[in-house]
């Protein structure tokens, strides 16, 4: 690294890396230089002139946001001239500003208000007529108020540079300049609302939040988005037990200011009036509302009699990939000890197990990739996934890596995904081609030409370009599973540098579902159920025996129901009728179908007992994102009538004669930390809002059937049941574009 640069700012000496901007150098000695248009990570504008400072030997004031520091520079930020310049910029900005702060959404958290409070003048000398423009609706989610706009161009840049959507431009000129959608009157975009978040004033407002409240009436709780496997940190703003808004208020964590449309707007399923709030029991073929006591004791009684009559393996459990680790852990304990069966599974959206197995076998469990590894990566290899739709934060971070330090992106995919724009190399394959390319890369098999667009020539060029890659971060979707994961790991570990791996699975806690052992063949932390010593560890902690042979995976369970072997199915936060195509008539064969859900899904409609569960906003716990990073979920509000899966399981266990001593999710987490391999995480790090990486180690049984792993292929606006009940996600025209549509 080049020698640091030493300069003086307001008399304080400071040393910073060469190339640092003066405005950032000032922060290091706690000197705040006000700014509007400067935004770290986005291109420089020199537009607002708020950051003018005095530099010795320079005739004019200089903008600190565009000045690169030089050795010996002497800077003053508080001279009368500088102060007057700031004050005058604010005075000029306010000339055409409506000053409707009392009704503006941004009032109380507005950068312009704060700047005027601190640097401005209380009086104006402007006596002319203000330029007025009526507010415009850019989409159901984004509104624009020109008079409030200070033209800092942050919205344009975050849309161009951050999102690669380019939805905004500037219309007209001079004092009549305004932000306009680039395509006609309306936005046609990813509707992420990054523009609203980044707007320093109340010019861009949110269709779901505007004019609803004052920011100081809200309570803020930092938690985790419930929609995809990336695990963005978010802050829910709640008033009277109603979520009003979501944004990552302190810009901390793995996502900084980022949230996609689902994270920023799609939480509204929580407030949906169709939420279940009373249990239902099927009587005479019709579901009727009941009390919690009745629903749970009826379930327990039926379970008792089925277990007594048909044995534990006549019962099966389907877990969720968006409930907490604590709930998942308890559910598998419930299945293995209270019910006594390993018949537990969930919708597996990526093959986490095989990666754990492969890295453990290669003694390379330090090579799990984290989200941060993407941001810092020089070379990224993306196989069989479309992050723009399936992993919006991953897509965002890949773009940052490419734009900010020229990371090389290599893509293999079936469709022409949007990230191809950032890709240095792209190889298009047919269905099944991803795995074939991986085996061909390692030389394990010949290249099946017909699966690759451009044939062996295209493959050769692609493979050749990969040769120069070091420190690869390999991201793979559902097409790479089972043996193919092992092949890919073998190839990846043969590459120079430190190759890292991450499977890209859907939904907020797919990874946690697998890690917590919601699988028929392995315990929490991936040890096979047939591994006696692993079983002992849990058995001694629980004081109960667990079954010794593998259970049925979900497809076998379906057959079991059909064949009459499975009599009871317990479903927690999952919709197997839709996900696994379990038909009404199949489900009708069950003696007991118990469903814990937020909404009356296709599965819930067939149930004998449905109980209303809490959503992510109404409970605490942890999620593990698809990279294996654990983050804390915090309860932000109550929803009358609902119970969390944790409470439901504790009650059911009690009714079935088991005394569990857990008082809260925290107790369960402490047990997970103590018992689950790879989860020995530092609790304080979790509590201060970090994403804490795990390194599972184990030798899980091989994948039973390849098609147990499949992505839901939700598009950017979808995430199964939750998005179906989001007004916001369904309100935008773009939600009706087919999967893979590019913006």
């Amino acid at each position: 690294m080049a020698d640091p640069i030493t300069l003086t700012i307001d008399g304080k000496p400071v040393s910073v890396a060469a190339g640092t901007l003066l405005i950032d150098a000032a922060k290091q000695v706690s000197v705040e230089v006000p700014s509007f248009c400067y935004y770290p990570g986005l291109s420089l504008q020199g537009a607002c002139r708020m950051c003018l400072v005095s530099i010795e030997k320079m005739p004019k004031l200089q903008t600190a946001c565009t000045t690169v520091v030089t050795n010996g520079m002497v800077v003053h930020t508080e001279t009368p001239e500088v102060k007057n310049a700031r004050k005058s910029m604010l005075e000029m900005l306010l000339t055409n500003h409506p000053l409707d702060c009392p009704v503006c959404d941004k009032g109380g958290e507005c950068e312009l208000q704060d700047a005027v409070f601190r640097y401005g003048a209380a009086e104006t000398r402007f006596l002319e007529t203000k330029i007025h423009e009526d507010e415009k609706k850019f989409s159901n989610l984004v509104y624009y108020d020109r008079p409030r706009c200070i033209l800092c161009y942050r919205c344009i840049r975050v849309c161009d540079e951050g999102m690669d959507v380019n939805a905004y431009g500037i219309g007209f000129r001079a004092a009549h300049s305004e932000i306009i959608p680039n395509r006609g009157e309306h936005l046609e975009c990813e509707e992420c609302g990054m523009c609203i978040d980044i707007c320093p004033v109340g010019a861009l407002t949110s269709g779901t939040y505007r004019y609803k409240t004052r920011p100081w009436e809200l309570t803020y709780t930092g938690t985790i988005c419930n929609h995809c496997g990336d695990g963005c940190k978010t802050t829910l703003s709640v008033r009277n037990h109603e979520v009003i808004r979501a944004n990552n208020r302190d810009h901390s964590g793995i996502n900084g200011e980022f949230l996609c449309v689902k994270g920023r707007f799609g939480w509204d399923f929580v407030n949906n009036p169709q939420r279940l709030t009373l249990p239902r029991i099927r009587r005479n073929g019709k579901q009727e509302e009941s009390s919690w006591e009745e629903a749970l004791s009826l379930t327990a009684d039926k379970l008792k009699s089925i277990l007594a009559a048909h044995g534990p393996d006549s019962v099966a459990v389907v877990g969720s990939n968006r409930t907490t680790n604590e709930e998942n852990y308890l559910l598998q304990r419930f299945s293995r000890t209270v019910l006594g069966t390993n018949n537990i599974d969930h919708h597996r959206t990526a093959d986490f197990s095989s990666l754990v197995g492969a890295l453990t076998a290669a003694k390379a469990t330090d090579r799990y990739a984290t989200m941060e590894n993407i941001v810092g990566a020089k070379h990224i290899f993306l196989i069989g996934n479309d992050p723009t739709h399936q992993h919006p934060l991953v897509a965002y971070q890949i773009r940052q890596a490419v734009r900010q330090h020229g990371a090389q992106l290599y893509v293999i995919s079936q469709g022409d995904i949007k990230l191809r724009r950032q890709a240095a190399r792209y190889l298009q394959v047919q269905l099944g081609g991803e795995a074939a390319v991986v085996s061909a890369l390692v030389g394990a098999s010949a290249l099946p030409n017909n699966l690759i667009a451009g044939g062996s020539e295209a493959f050769g060029a692609f493979a050749e370009s990969l040769k120069s890659a070091v420190d690869l971060v390999i991201l793979f979707g559902d097409a790479i599973r089972g043996d193919e994961v092992r092949t890919m790991v073998r190839w990846g570990l043969s590459m120079p540098g430190e190759t890292r791996f991450a499977p890209l699975g859907d939904y907020a806690n797919s990874r946690g579902a697998a890690d917590m052992g919601m699988l028929p063949g392995n315990l929490p932390g991936y040890a096979p159920v047939t591994d006696e010593s692993a079983r002992r560890k849990f058995e001694s902690a629980w004081g109960q025996a667990t079954p010794i042979s593998s259970g049925l995976h979900i497809k076998a369970v379906a057959e079991g129901i059909e064949a009459g072997r499975i009599k009871a199915l317990l479903v927690f936060g999952s919709n197997p009728a839709r996900t696994f195509g379990l038909s009404k008539s199949t489900l009708a064969k069950l003696e007991l179908l118990f469903v814990a859900e937020l909404f009356s899904t296709e599965t819930a409609e067939c149930a004998d007992v449905v109980v209303p569960a809490t959503s992510f906003a109404e409970k605490s716990g942890t999620f593990t994102n698809t990279f294996g990073q654990v983050q804390a979920l915090k309860k932000t509000m109550r929803k009358a009538g609902t119970k969390s899966d944790l409470e439901i399981l504790l009650a059911l266990a009690r009714l079935l004669g088991h005394k569990w001593s857990y008082q809260s999710a925290d107790d369960v987490l402490r047990e997970i930390i103590a018992l689950v391999p790879g989860y020995a995480i530092a609790l304080p790090n979790l509590l201060i809002g970090r994403a804490v990486a795990t390194r599972p180690e184990g030798t899980p049984p091989p994948l039973e059937k390849p098609d147990l792993i499949f992505s839901s292929r939700d598009n950017l606006f979808g995430s199964g049941t939750l998005s179906r009940y989001s007004w916001a996600l369904n309100s935008v025209d773009e939600a009706r574009k087919p999967y893979g549509h590019e913006f």
Partner: protein, 448 residues
């Protein structure tokens, strides 16, 4: 091609360097041009090293005619000799400064001279591609230039291996869409690249990071048109025509309240008083002079007592004004300076690109204030407010347009404060009360 009255009125004080061929029948045709020393400068240049060409231009003390007056040879010298990227020559024919209309005649009457200047500049900096960026309203000049460029290609002055020298150079025209700001060099580059005509943050300067991120020189039409004669006759010869550090002649566009408005080629350093009296025929209708805008509307005005100044960059700078783009606007005693200030600000408020706060908001504010003031709504504090707002723009904007708006305003507010006060006292415009014509006409087509 007479869209308008011939602006070349002629004067015995003229020194014809740039305009030496004006009036020769069909000189816009290549063969006629060549018969009159055409492309001789280029032939000469091609026998020299690029560095020697730059040295010759430096020696000539040719200063940029676009407004800022930067030494042309020095600017060329900033371009890195070795560059892995292509380099570009961009000719600024956006001529939009109110009061300025000289690039137009250079293109119309002697297009090959400009083409020759572009090729020499390309040779000097090692560029193989030039662009001439023409203001939207000058679209008709594009036809003239395109025809001439076609002839030059056919005759081997453009294209591959020019005159057997091994040097390649291509030249193309491009039109703007009519924004004044697109004459600012970095806004021009954006516009040329197909982007909105917003200026860029400097540094980096275009000589290093210019068109498409490559080293680029940007010169005015008149600057480049001066180059062939410098090569032909030598830098020393050219420098001697003007005053020290202000080589050669320049085209002055005289407009406003004078008897003989028009375009005249005069040596640098000629006193403004001689221009008014001996070239322009004095103030019209026997009236008295009130003030002069010496180099386009961006320049601080000079009062009648300041017109003994020699018309070169340094002398004008010394008395707090600028030579600018050579558009000299004379204003007679019957003109209301409040209205003049308002009209000038109306132009800038309209043309501000809107990128930065002080210019976008400041020009709009000043325009509204001055309009109200002249419309009898003035208040005593307005004068100081207007001055202060102007100072708050000055030196604080991203590009010099903000300064260009502030400078004339400050000078009028200071030098003609008494006229503002008279408005206040009278409660109306004293000039309109007297029934005088208070408008100013300038020949660039913008009626003030």
């Amino acid at each position: 091609m007479a869209h308008y009255e011939n602006p070349m009125r002629g004067s015995s004080l003229e020194v014809k360097v740039l305009t030496e061929r004006f009036g020769i029948p069909n000189v816009e045709k290549l063969d006629v041009f060549v018969q009159h020393n055409g492309y001789e400068g280029l032939r000469k240049a091609l026998t020299m090293t690029p560095d020697a060409v730059i040295a010759e231009v430096k020696k000539s003390a040719l200063r940029g005619r676009g407004g800022a007056g930067f030494n042309a040879g020095m600017k060329w010298g900033f371009v890195p000799r070795q560059s892995p990227k292509p380099k570009y020559v961009v000719c600024n024919a956006d001529e939009s400064e109110p009061g300025t209309c000289k690039d137009r005649v250079l293109i119309e009457y002697d297009p090959h001279q400009l083409i020759e200047g572009n090729i020499i500049a390309g040779y000097a900096i090692g560029s193989h591609q030039g662009y001439i960026y023409i203001r939207g309203e000058y679209r008709y000049l594009m036809e003239i230039l395109d025809r001439a460029i076609g002839e030059a290609y056919a005759a081997g002055f453009l294209g591959k291996n020019i005159l057997g020298s091994g040097f390649d150079f291509d030249l193309a025209t491009h039109t703007g869409a009519g924004a004044y700001e697109c004459g600012e060099e970095t806004a021009l580059l954006n516009s040329l690249e197909g982007l909105r005509g917003y200026p860029r943050v400097k540094p980096p300067f275009p000589a290093v990071v210019g068109l498409y991120g490559c080293p680029t020189i940007i010169n005015n039409v008149e600057t480049l048109s001066s180059v062939p004669s410098i090569l032909r006759n030598g830098g020393d010869w050219y420098a001697k025509i003007g005053t020290p550090n202000n080589g050669g002649t320049r085209l002055f566009a005289l407009s406003g309240h004078i008897e003989r408005p028009g375009i005249y080629e005069l040596p640098m350093g000629i006193p403004l008083r001689r221009i008014l009296e001996e070239v322009g025929g004095g103030v019209w209708k026997g009236k008295k002079l009130k003030c002069v805008i010496p180099g386009g509307s961006s320049c601080p005005v000079l009062t009648a007592s300041e017109i003994d100044v020699p018309m070169d960059f340094d002398s004008l700078s010394k008395i707090g004004s600028m030579l600018g783009s050579g558009g000299v606007v004379f204003i007679d005693e019957d003109t209301c300076m409040v209205k003049a200030a308002w009209r000038i600000m109306k132009f800038y408020a309209h043309e501000s690109c809107g990128w930065c706060i002080p210019c976008r908001e400041g020009t709009a504010w000043l325009k509204a204030l001055l309009e109200r003031f002249h419309g009898n709504g003035g208040m005593a504090e307005d004068i100081d407010t207007a001055l202060d707002v102007s100072y708050n723009m000055l030196g604080k904007t991203l590009c010099p347009l903000g300064d260009a708006a502030a400078m004339p305003t400050i000078s009028i507010l200071k030098k003609f404060r008494h006229e503002f006060e008279e408005h206040l006292k009278l409660g109306s415009c004293p000039f309109e009360a007297r029934g005088s014509e208070s408008g100013v006409r300038v020949s660039a087509g913008v009626a003030i």
